[in-house]
């Protein structure tokens, strides 16, 4: 066993994901936290520690965001920290919650992730332009979408992948989201719809991309002792992993996310997983763009390099396929309130492994699930592996 104590997930909660919600970030964090506590059958007094995950302060325009969100996260007079690794935050927050308990320091940890992107008005895209190096990158007018378009195109070029193969991911995920009650962009669309959508930054088109969103999600983690007292079906965190690559993103070959592979290897080693595609029953893979699901499946070694499009075309990654990927609907369908989106993926794996995912439930009684997120300047990977 890794760590001093085995760690379980015992409750999960989330809000609706929408372009604009009336609630403040604090109120959203509170709603998700309260739901997760209720589901776990615990009260705030039972919580020993709190980890909050939230992405760039510039979205909220409040540059002490951890503190700003503390009360809503149930942190009142408790050991509290905010973690932030860009888009990787939502899964990394669960990794951080894990070590709070695995270290032996705490018996319970509330993990909360929140994002309210609508506060950056009229569009949060501009906040993203301030993430780049101010000396040599920003004067060129670099935007977030440029760098993803460059990565997508490189990935397509190296493996000879076509846009229509990639579009299948968007079709699948937006379709899966039709069964998610919190989804923002659930839709029945076709590959043609994706290929005919507005070109934003070739090869990225409107329907290749997830929306900007408001929302929150939360999980309650507990030590084995506590988990066994409060629930008959805990879900165990058996693997955690995280890794970062160089910030010199133009010096790396963008066709393959090595940092995701490193994070996955760390988690697989801990969970004793030798053959990921065989041993993982269901995965929530980070999909802010359709190509990222494929790219990340390869980084996670769920598909061989360049082979994820084929698995997708063959239906393997459908909810009723042999390796369901993003049964929730993912960021493309449910929405992308940055940190909350990663934690939503962890919630989905928890519900899938408990058999509580309703219409989204994957076939065959899944026992092992994986959630992954990705962030910073295309350089950060975070992974959680859960077992029922």
């Amino acid at each position: 066993m890794f760590g001093k104590k085995r760690v379980a997930v015992i409750g999960a909660g989330m809000t609706l994901f929408r372009r604009t919600l009336k609630e403040t970030g604090k109120e959203l964090a509170w709603e998700a936290s309260k739901m997760a506590l209720d589901q776990a059958g615990l009260e705030l007094k039972d919580i020993d520690s709190v980890v909050m995950g939230t992405a760039p302060d510039a979205f909220d325009g409040v540059h002490m965001k951890g503190e700003y969100l503390a009360d809503g996260s149930g942190a009142y007079r408790k050991p509290y920290s905010r973690v932030f690794v860009g888009g990787g935050t939502g899964v990394f927050a669960v990794d951080a919650g894990w070590w709070h308990i695995a270290s032996g320091q705490f018996d319970t940890c509330l993990v909360v992730a929140e994002e309210k992107m609508s506060s950056c008005y009229p569009h949060p895209a501009y906040a993203f332009t301030t993430i780049f190096d101010p000396i040599y990158a920003r004067p060129l007018g670099v935007t977030l979408i440029w760098i993803f378009a460059l990565e997508m195109h490189r990935y397509m070029h190296v493996h000879g992948i076509k846009k229509e193969e990639i579009a299948l991911v968007s079709v699948k995920n937006k379709g899966n989201a039709l069964d998610h009650p919190c989804a923002q962009l659930a839709a029945k669309i076709t590959v043609e719809d994706v290929l005919n959508s507005e070109v934003l930054c070739y090869p990225v088109q409107r329907l290749d991309i997830s929306p900007t969103s408001d929302g929150a999600a939360a999980l309650v983690l507990a030590s084995e002792d506590v988990a066994k007292k409060v629930t008959d079906n805990p879900v165990w965190i058996d693997g955690v992993g995280w890794s970062i690559d160089s910030t010199y993103w133009t010096n790396r070959d963008l066709y393959y996310p090595r940092y995701v592979q490193s994070a996955a290897q760390m988690a697989y080693k801990m969970a004793g997983i030798k053959n990921p595609p065989k041993e993982i029953d269901v995965a929530e893979v980070y999909d802010p763009f359709d190509y990222k699901e494929l790219h990340h499946m390869e980084g996670l070694m769920l598909a061989r390099k360049g082979q994820a499009p084929k698995l997708t075309a063959d239906g393997v990654t459908q909810r009723d396929g042999d390796l369901p990927i993003n049964p929730s609907g993912g960021l493309l369908g449910v929405g992308n309130p940055i940190a909350a989106a990663g934690t939503m993926k962890c919630c989905e794996i928890f519900w899938q492994l408990r058999g509580e995912a309703g219409k989204r439930q994957v076939k065959g009684d899944p026992r092992t699930g994986l959630a992954q997120a990705w962030g910073d300047l295309m350089q950060y990977g975070s992974v959680v592996i859960m077992r029922s």
Binding site: M14, T15, L16, F17, R18, R19, T20, L21, K22, E23, L28, E31, M35, Q39, G61, S118, Y121, H123, A125, Y126, P134, I135, Y136, A137, P139, L140, G141, T143, I145, W146, A149, L150, E151, M152, H153, R154, H157, H180, P181, C182, E198, V199, L200, C201, Y202, P203, V204, D214, G215, S246, Y248, T250, N251, D253, W351, R354, E356, A357, G358, R360
Partner: protein, 172 residues
């Protein structure tokens, strides 16, 4: 969703109601301003650009010639061994065609964006820049050779924009 959860909180508001002030809200535009030191290595780079040169940094331990230059090698975690001029020609590693500006608004003339692996630097040492003198973006190819087009020396200020853009080395 868990089957056990019947209601998910969140009150959606309409964009039009936000825009027309029907949702109670407070507006604010921060007025923070910055002056960033270019630093030890990037000062060399910017001074080089002013003279029409692209400066890289060398590390003898890993053998890399790195661009953008840096004061320390992040892999060997030691100071770099020196700075060298590298060529202003290179190869297109990847590219994209941007129809949106930084604020997500639409632009008419697309910006041609590329990562260019520079000649004289170690393999895969690319920089971000834009492409020019290309009538139709479909003429851009992976692996295409390109060359920097510099501003006239009197107009250079010591900026990455002292290179106006990279153009195809051969007529397209």
């Amino acid at each position: 969703m868990s089957e056990k959860i019947k209601h998910f909180p969140g009150e959606q508001v309409k964009n039009i109601d936000v825009k027309e002030g029907r949702i109670p809200a407070v507006r604010h535009r921060p007025n923070a301003k910055y002056l960033w030191s270019a630093g030890i290595a990037m000062s060399r780079f910017l001074e080089g650009l002013k003279k029409g040169k692209i400066v890289g940094a060398t590390c003898k331990k890993c053998g890399r010639i790195m661009v953008p230059p840096r004061a320390f090698c992040e892999q060997c975690f030691k100071p770099v061994d020196g700075y060298v001029n590298i060529k202003d020609t290179g190869t297109i590693n990847t590219y994209s065609v941007s129809y949106v500006a930084g604020d997500a608004s639409r632009i008419k003339e697309p910006i041609l964006v590329a990562i260019i692996d520079l000649d004289g630097a170690s393999e895969g040492m690319g920089i971000l820049h834009i492409l020019g003198e290309i009538d139709d973006w479909k003429q851009i190819k992976f692996g295409m050779k390109v060359k920097a087009v510099w501003k006239p020396s009197e107009e250079r200020t010591g900026s990455i924009k002292d290179i106006k853009y990279f153009r195809p080395l051969q007529e397209v």
